[in-house]
Symmetry: C2
Subunit: 455 residues, 2 copies
């Protein structure tokens, strides 16, 4: 331990190290429920690539585990400390190094906050689409580590599609540059993509070249009320089948609508069975909304309310963004699932989730990136009640089993972390798991990078 600190201090300024046992526990974990978090030996907050390399060289020399961290807004325990580890927080490496409107690229350090990047590129008429719900605080490095999604994905895809190139400090301190600054490139195996979603288990991202898009027109949204989630899902299928390209297509079930009204007095229709929100950032969003409104009515919508202006649209989105906090306010504990199914199976997924709630005697509210088939069932439980907590975990697991049965995945955008490790093995199967372990071994033969996560 003293040896570790002495060695770290040899290559780091004093202010980069936190060893105070009153402070280090605050770096112990992310926002996942029910995930164990150990006690770090030390928290390091480097400002330079060279400092990160020093940390990794030291960790390799002493065989000390390293847990890389961003803003710890993750939902799967991927950033949770293990006992005696070095927590490597990249929060202070927060410079935007370059924005090029001609190349439509940005070069950033990992600690840049998602919203800070969005605002910086907007000044150049550019747009960085990935918008996880924590976008005001989460970092680009964390987004890369967890392959974050968000509300925009139905049109703009996930973080992975915006990562062109990376500089990565490897487990032994060597520096890898992978990928490109160009629009295209196929030189060798795509190691860049391998790092996206790898939750800090393969290396420490210290610089990223990101693709940007032109800033789209301000979106306009509508809300449609349905008697059931099945009807709302039929509308989702019709919208996608007819070739529409909404910039957002979100569903909130009855439980979620109630919770949002309770928390925020949003005036959502309390009697509805499911609320669908659709938005378009096209040249003529009103025309697109009119067409989509018709499809909603044909699918049985009781009411279709298009926003008259961007301000009204923003209010609808706020209601959606409030879903998670609103459901969290329902009980003392929540577990947020992240099952993604083919959108043709979405109705079955939602009906099945309601059946899981009934069978387990629990409240489960669902908000969903419906256009992607990506559901977030929020299992609400009393964390002071061990039996109910056990039931909650069982319901959480039953929802993943249902997702796999429907041809889906256990995680659309939150990642595996600690929370879903056993389930990953079920999804991948033995051949896939063996190859994934082989890949991990290539990058981290000593197993010091975020041990116990993903695999």
């Amino acid at each position: 331990m003293d040896d570790l600190l002495d060695r770290l201090r040899a290559g780091l300024p004093a202010e980069a190290l936190i060893t105070d046992p009153d402070v280090t526990p605050s770096y112990a974990g992310d926002m996942a429920g029910l995930c164990p978090a150990g006690t770090p030996a030390v928290v390091v907050l480097p400002r330079t690539v060279e400092e990160v390399r020093h940390v990794m060289r030291t960790a390799t020399a002493l065989r000390v585990p390293v847990v890389p961290q961003g803003a710890r807004t993750g939902l799967s325990g991927a950033a949770n400390a293990v006992d005696g580890c070095i927590v490597l927080s990249l929060l202070r490496m927060d410079r935007i190094l370059d924005v090029s409107p001609v190349d439509r690229t940005a070069v950033v350090e990992p600690g840049v906050v998602n919203a800070a990047l969005s605002r910086a590129v907007a000044e150049h008429g550019l747009h960085y689409p990935p918008d996880p719900s924590s976008w005001e605080t989460c970092t680009i490095g964390g987004n890369i580590g967890t392959a974050s999604g968000g509300l925009c994905c139905v049109k703009y895809g996930v973080t992975a599609e915006y990562v062109l190139g990376l500089d990565v400090v490897l487990a032994d301190g060597r520096l890898l540059s992978t990928g490109r600054r160009t629009a295209k490139g196929v030189a060798g195996y795509d190691l860049t993509r391998l790092f996206v979603g790898s939750e800090g288990t393969l290396g420490v991202v210290v610089r990223a070249v990101l693709a940007l898009r032109p800033k789209p027109p301000v979106p306009l949204a509508l809300a449609a009320e349905f008697a059931s989630t099945a009807d709302a899902c039929a509308a989702v299928c019709a919208i996608m089948e007819r070739g529409h390209t909404p910039s957002l297509l979100e569903l909130m079930d009855r439980t979620t609508v109630h919770a949002v009204n309770r928390l925020g007095r949003m005036g959502l229709p309390d009697t509805t069975g499911a609320l669908l929100l659709a938005a378009f950032d096209t040249p003529d969003p009103a025309a697109d909304l009119a067409a989509v409104g018709e499809l909603c009515r044909a699918a049985g919508a009781a009411a279709v309310v298009p926003a008259d202006d961007p301000a009204e649209s923003e209010l609808l989105l706020q209601a959606r963004r409030m879903s998670l906090p609103a459901l969290e306010a329902v009980s003392t504990g929540t577990m947020i699932d992240d099952v993604c199914v083919p959108r043709s199976r979405l109705a079955e997924m939602l009906d099945g989730t309601a059946a899981v709630a009934a069978a387990h005697g629990l409240t489960i509210g669902v908000c969903a990136h419906a256009g992607d088939g990506n559901t977030h069932p929020v299992v609400c439980f009393d964390r002071t009640d061990p039996e109910e907590t056990r039931r909650a975990r069982a319901a959480f697991d039953a929802i993943m089993a249902l997702g796999l049965e429907l041809g889906g995945t256990i995680t659309g955008e939150h990642g595996v972390g600690l929370l879903k490790r056993e389930w990953l093995a079920r999804e991948l199967g033995p051949v896939g798991l063996e190859l994934q372990r082989g890949v991990k071994q290539v990058f981290d033969p000593l197993g010091i990078l975020n041990p116990g996560k993903v695999l």
Copy 2:
């Protein structure tokens, strides 16, 4: 050898094997110039996954190299046989297994021809964007192996962005299912993407789940004449900087325009220094073309000619699609480069390529996916003249060196194969190369899958 054939025959129908030495040489190589191709021991054309597994089990048992092949339209020698190998042609596995308009996915076997898929999904109002110039004959499996691009990439990206999931027969015959059928998914490391562009060196793709898009409106194009490539590139930068999203943005230099006129009597402006083609498949393409035409004029265009209708647009695109055959008709030998640079450096790349042509006393015509910064300098030479052939190779190499100097990549979309193997090491550097070799080792420990390609 007899043992190999006996073992293969035990699990394959007779018609799946070609051993006739008059026929097997026709499977020896792809369309790359100056790449060695060996003599296969046998060509196998399986129809089922089980047959492919039998081939790989046999190859592993006997340590015989296997070279997977599609339509052999590749341009880097990735499909070239090695002496004594099994050529594994996937051409007969050509079924489209599923097309889902709701999920916007297709499930296909690897031998499906790109154009056949495009037409099949168009019947459902859907669109499979990747359109390499060989799209009428090349296969989806080959497109995945080489991570193909095409004319559409400036708006729609490359093949990699459309591959959601894969079934892959591994070197030892085991079957891996990787990826997903869903719009999103982050369960474990992205092995799917690792296979895209791996040129059959990691496994044999036997099934793919592809993402589709709604069919866009019919595009409308314009042509703009410039005095120099530098002026044309300035227009490209202005178009992208202003946030336009053309579905095509192509450049042909003077040499290419001349060659196309000579071959096809296309009536292109013979006096021009560079021709720029732009197309839009937006709701109002005429308006977009008008705006882009203005930017071209501001960048010095001598003439801007918008097409009046889709038929005229198609003629312009035909001229562009004719560029490679036209340049090939100029001489007895050609080598097609594939350097991609940040688009802000495109003008330097084109000026530098002209300087390389002058310095080496060779004709080099350039057509470019200008919107992507992806150039295809075609080095023309007399293949009966060893000295000129040597000079051509030197020029080809000088162009890659220039691309790397400008922050680009040696291959934007054609892949590494045999042709660029030494250059890949330069682009990746020693750390990247070592990791890539480690990954290869995980998937193919015996080194029997397409040996000598990529790494």
